[in-house]
Amino acid sequence: MRAVGKNLVIQKIKEGTTATKGGLLLAESQRDDIRYIEGKVLHVGSEVVGVKELDTIFYDRHAGHKIEYNKETYYIIKLTDVVVVL
């Protein structure tokens, strides 16, 4: 599997329920006011600059679509949806 052009293949990092610093538990769905979420880059297209494979990134939660490959689901997003590389 190889991403084309400015596309990236990523995997969502699921955190489940987490506690805030103050100790308040919040489930995934209760944090949806946070627009940018974490993901792990698996493949980058040939035109992608600034992000490389196995980077952890923050990207727009509303961006991208799923694909299924070898019974695994991945997300395809565009380079413009990535905002931060950790």
Binding site: A19, G22, Q30
Partner: protein
């Protein structure tokens, strides 16, 4: 013309006979419940279910007569009975019996002058009321039981319960009735505020047996504007978690916020309970303000520029305990603050000035909220039918006791009116008719007990009468056979009013039934 209803006219004796026949039927049914030996009435409700009652209003309400003119008579009488209940909370039966007997005596007069009789009855009523005022006595704590007992149709156990309820809350307190699922009646005294807002999520339940959500020493967050996201209250919640406190939120929360709190609660992360904000309407703000006063919380409204993110712990209120079941929440608050006392005085003042029933109800509710002491009589019974019947009587007793505290009491069992009939002088025919008529409740009570009226000498001693249960002559007040003055007075007034109106009627027009 086609949709006009054809009318039937009756005049003079024919008309009054029929109207009186209706009144007689109603009075007969209702009067059988009067007194300590009064009987129950078994009636079929609109859905065909049998109801057993000793409550005059329920009996009267169930009666609709086939003959339209008779029915008009019965309906007029019901009106008098209902008005008595509205004013005094009890006395339906007495009002019915009195109206019937006034009419009966007035119709018995040959060649009557309706206007003169009417005037005589009215002046007679005023004289009797003056007499009753002069013999009435103020109620003390010990008498409450007896007053309540007589209105529960002589059920000392229930009477004591209602008496206890009034004693436990004092003069400012409010006594309420509630049906319970337990088979026994019990009394619950709440030192606090009760509001009609129940559980919002079953996950908040802490007492599985009673299905209630209870918090000890909770902080109270009052928010008037809706809370749509958990982030809005995040800082408050974190403060509570950090300090290991309980939190009661009174606000309208979005479903997602509720489920977030439920999750935190069920994971043992936070002690929290949420109840909805007071219902919309003119009282909403008032209830909020009262809750703020009582808990010491500051009411927060994001629509008015408050920011929940910047909220300081001192904006939170507190109370000793909160208990929420599926339909209401009771807040136990500590000692009443001076500013609350001020408002209480204000509400009490407007209560004495205001006589419109809906305003009075509103004010009484507010008073109950603020005085922070509520006695709840929980009515329990073994069957639905018994429950309804018991609830009716307890409701009567609560109203009657309230009336007695207000205006005092007079000897019961019809004795007060009987004494009045011998001690007030009649100057005209009308007054004579009235004085004769007010012996009717006494006679009816004896009749219901199966005692021959003639065999007694009722004139002998004022305030003395026959205890129909023990069959002994006793001092009525000492024996605890008493009526609230307010009940007797308004029964007499309303009975007189309806009777004189009917007396001055000579023509009845009714719709034809096809």
């Amino acid at each position: 013309m086609s949709d006009a209803i054809v009318k039937n006219l009756s005049f003079g004796k024919e008309a009054s006979d029929k109207v009186f026949a209706g009144i007689e039927k109603l009075a007969k049914a209702v009067s059988s419940t009067l007194g300590a030996s009064g009987k129950c009435v078994l009636l079929e409700d609109a859905a065909g279910r049998p109801v057993i009652t000793k409550d005059g209003v329920s009996v009267a309400d169930a009666i609709i007569l086939l003959d339209p003119v008779e029915n008009m008579g019965a309906t007029l009488l019901k009106e008098a009975a209902r008005k008595t209940v509205r004013e005094a909370g009890d006395g339906t039966t007495t009002a019915t019996v009195l109206a019937h007997s006034i009419l009966k005596n007035a119709y018995a007069v040959e060649n009557p002058n309706a206007r003169e009789i009417k005037e005589g009855i009215n002046t007679g009523i005023e004289n009797v009321i003056k007499y009753l005022d002069s013999v009435s006595i103020k109620v003390d704590d010990k008498m409450l039981d007896q007053i309540a007992t007589i209105s529960t149709n002589n059920d000392p156990e229930l009477g004591k319960l209602v008496g206890d309820a009034f004693r436990s809350v004092g003069n400012t307190g409010i006594v309420m009735m509630e049906t319970s699922v337990e088979p026994d009646c019990s009394l619950q005294v709440v030192e606090g505020v009760q509001c009609d807002m129940g559980l919002t999520n079953t996950h908040f339940i802490t007492n599985q047996k009673n299905k209630t959500a209870e918090l000890e020493n909770p902080l109270v967050l009052l928010v008037e504007s809706p809370i749509e996201s958990i982030r809005q209250i995040q800082s408050v919640l974190e403060f509570v978690i950090k300090n290991n406190k309980a939190l009661l939120i009174i606000a309208d929360l979005d479903q997602t916020v509720l489920s977030a709190l439920a999750m935190n609660k069920s994971k043992g992360n936070i002690k929290v309970n949420v109840i909805n904000a007071p219902t919309y309407g003119i009282n909403r703000k008032e209830i909020f303000d009262d809750l703020a006063l009582l808990t010491g919380a500051t009411l927060i409204n994001e629509d008015l520029g408050d920011d929940l993110d910047l909220i300081q712990p001192e904006l939170l209120g507190s109370c000793i305990k909160s208990v929420t079941n599926h339909e209401e929440t009771i807040l136990h608050v500590g000692e009443t603050k001076p500013e609350v006392l001020e408002i209480i005085e204000e509400v009490k003042k407007s209560l004495t000035e205001n006589l419109q029933s809906n305003t009075v109800i509103k004010l009484e509710k507010r008073l109950a909220r603020l005085t922070a002491k509520i006695a709840i009589v929980k009515v329990g019974a073994n069957s639905e039918i018994e429950l309804k019947e018991k609830a009716d009587r307890i409701e009567d007793a609560i109203c009657a006791t309230k009336a007695a505290i207000k205006e005092g009491i007079v000897p019961g069992g019809g004795i007060a009116l009987l004494n009045a009939s011998y001690n007030v002088d009649a100057k005209t025919l009308g007054e004579e008719i009235l004085l004769d008529s007010i012996r009717a409740p006494f006679n009816t009570i004896l009749e219901n007990a199966g005692i021959d009226v003639v065999s007694l000498d009722p004139v002998s001693k004022t305030g003395y009468g026959l205890n129909v249960i023990t069959n002994k002559t006793v001092n009525m007040i000492e024996a605890g056979i008493i009526d609230p003055l307010l009940v007797t007075k308004s029964a007499l007034r309303n009975a007189g009013s309806v009777a004189t109106t009917i007396l001055s009627t000579d023509c009845v027009i009714n719709n034809m039934r096809m």
